[in-house]
């Protein structure tokens, strides 16, 4: 049973500067000592947001002007590093449902799409336009149009990219593949039957 299709996401944005934002930064490992994902939202970008004594650092993510944001705008190679799904889970649980970046690390991208977190690629120049618009007016509404490869904000609009397979999954509501994988059980058994190391 597919989930609700995701054709577009709208919301306010917040700019998180930097390239190579790794998953250790998105959710530091010490907060992963848990057996459920509940509560992870609280630690999103913890060390970027807090000093060692727990006070807020000066950062867009702490700025009340961007408190309503639900779309992250960042740099290249976003989500590099570990395969921890804790990263997109914490993004989702902190109230964000989309990321606009220059590029994404592969495992992070896959994990995010599975959860319905929309990840789209926009050029350096276009992301600059977007972050400038947010900076000028934090209330500006961004709309990521997955179907038409477009991000609009105010009276501007820029192109964005998303892998065709991921786009299809979002548009059809099949971004969580489990149901479809389960349907293939017969074919799986046939494939496994041909491999000697799969035999019990």
């Amino acid at each position: 049973m597919p989930a609700t299709p995701i054709k577009q996401v709208s919301g306010k944005g917040v700019f998180v500067p930097g390239d190579d934002i790794d998953t250790d930064r998105i959710i530091p490992a010490r907060f992963m000592k848990c057996i459920t994902f509940d509560g992870l939202g609280e630690y999103l970008f913890h060390d970027v947001r807090k000093t060692e004594s727990g006070e807020d650092k000066k950062h867009n993510l702490n700025d009340p002007r961007f408190a309503q944001a639900s779309i992250l705008v960042s740099g290249n190679n976003f989500g590099c590093g570990s395969s921890r799904e804790h990263a997109p889970q914490s993004i989702l649980r902190a109230g964000y449902n989309a990321v606009i970046a220059g590029s994404f690390a592969e495992i992070f991208f896959g994990n995010s799409i599975n959860l319905g977190v929309v990840c789209v690629i926009a050029s350096d120049a276009d992301r600059k336009l977007i972050s400038a618009a947010i900076e000028a007016n934090p209330e500006v509404e961004l709309t990521i149009d997955v179907e038409n490869h477009k991000i609009s904000f105010g009276d501007q609009s820029v192109p964005c990219e998303i892998k065709p397979g991921a786009r299809d999954s979002l548009l059809s509501g099949n971004y969580d593949p489990l149901a479809e994988l389960l349907e293939g059980a017969g074919d799986v058994a046939a494939t496994a039957g041909k491999l000697s190391y799969m035999q019990a």
């Binding site: 992963m32 290249n76 590099c80 994988l181 494939t191 496994a192």
Partner: protein, 471 residues
Amino acid sequence: MSKSLFEKVWDAHAVRQLANGQTQLLIGTHLIHEVTSPQAFGMLRDKDLTVQYPHRTFATVDHIVPTNEAVEPYSDPLAQGMIEELRKNCAENNVTFFDTNTGKQGVVHIVGPEQGITQPGTTIACGDSHTATHGAFGAIAFGIGTSQVRDVLATQTIALNKLKVRRINVTGNLLPGVYAKDVILHIIRLLGTQGGTGFAYEYAGDTFDNFTMEERMTVCNMSIEGGARVGYVNPDETTFEYLKGRPYSPTGEAWDAAVAEWKSFASDEGCAFDDVVNIDATEIQPTVTWGITPGQGVGIEENIPTIADAPTQSEKDSIAEALEYMQFEGGSPIKGKKIDVAFIGSCTNGRLSDFEEVAKYVKGHKVAEGVQAIIVPGSQVVAKIAEAKGLDKIFIEAGFEWRAAGCSMCLAMNPDKLVGDQLCASSSNRNFKGRQGSPTGRTMLMSPIMVAAAAVTGEVSDARQVFGFKS
């Protein structure tokens, strides 16, 4: 038509095409650990699903185990809770668990090969990005997220896009004092941290032909640091020799049949690759990272780059951010940076050969005053053999702490952590901000020998000079 190993293994495991164009891929071997599996078992319970092929899933505990505390309950109740949850999930689902009392526990990427579970021509997945390690055996091994761990448990498959293949040929003999770790740090420096996005890396050339399995594992381990989700070496006699007689390796007639099958998976002579990169092994120097991504490395005789050196604004920004975090000056030599901590271990360099090599050189040396140096075996099996050979005594004599098996200071999920802005010479694989537990802690990646050299001199040093390598 001639094919690469990647294509052959992919084709043998492709179940069918999914509606969005992805492939439903059979995962022959599933490795799990305590950090990324409990939520997956939880999702299974929520959906009333069971583990489909329990005999193909193997578990161990590594990230959270304290390496200096032998008995449970551990002083950290969260860690205790995680190990108990894994125990429960494995027992309920008939999954083999290499628990701490089995003598086989260790870092998942060390345990799989050492038990003979990792085999050529297979697909392997684990909720851990360093799963490419197993590619050293000619397996296609993927790091996956927790929802995919759920998918593998429930269906033994994942939905995946096919990767392109880049062949990386390294030819020639490594200079004395240059190791497999330097090879991969060099490759990442050359191709960048995102150079491998969308690719599987096939490592080849006579440098790899001459490598031991442990050296091949060190390189494959860090594929993800270059952006490649998969990295592998074609199986050969070295591979078969390593696997012979391991607990999960086939025996008798089945062994001969398996070897014949394994050989057939190797890339065909002259098959096409999407990209080819050639590297001269003699150009590789002992390499040390100076920044906050594994691609920010330099040869030991080089200087740290300056902001002005960078051609683009975004590279200038990255260098500036790294220099600020590392508290280094652009243009200064990497050599001579004073370290606080030395760590030898992890799934990159926590194997027996790493310890044998280090022991050979540190004998007769002493860890410098003010430096904490710890050596952590990657598994209980490694620990036992190392101890039988007396390596632990050599290390302790030299002033290192000899610990129990686990991930330890590779990441901050157990008591081994940096404090404040300590600078650590580390044989692990990631130098991200805060990776080693302190939000301001600083990590420099290098080979185990280079870590040992830094430990005994108290600063980043050229191991060839410290230990008198003959060139």
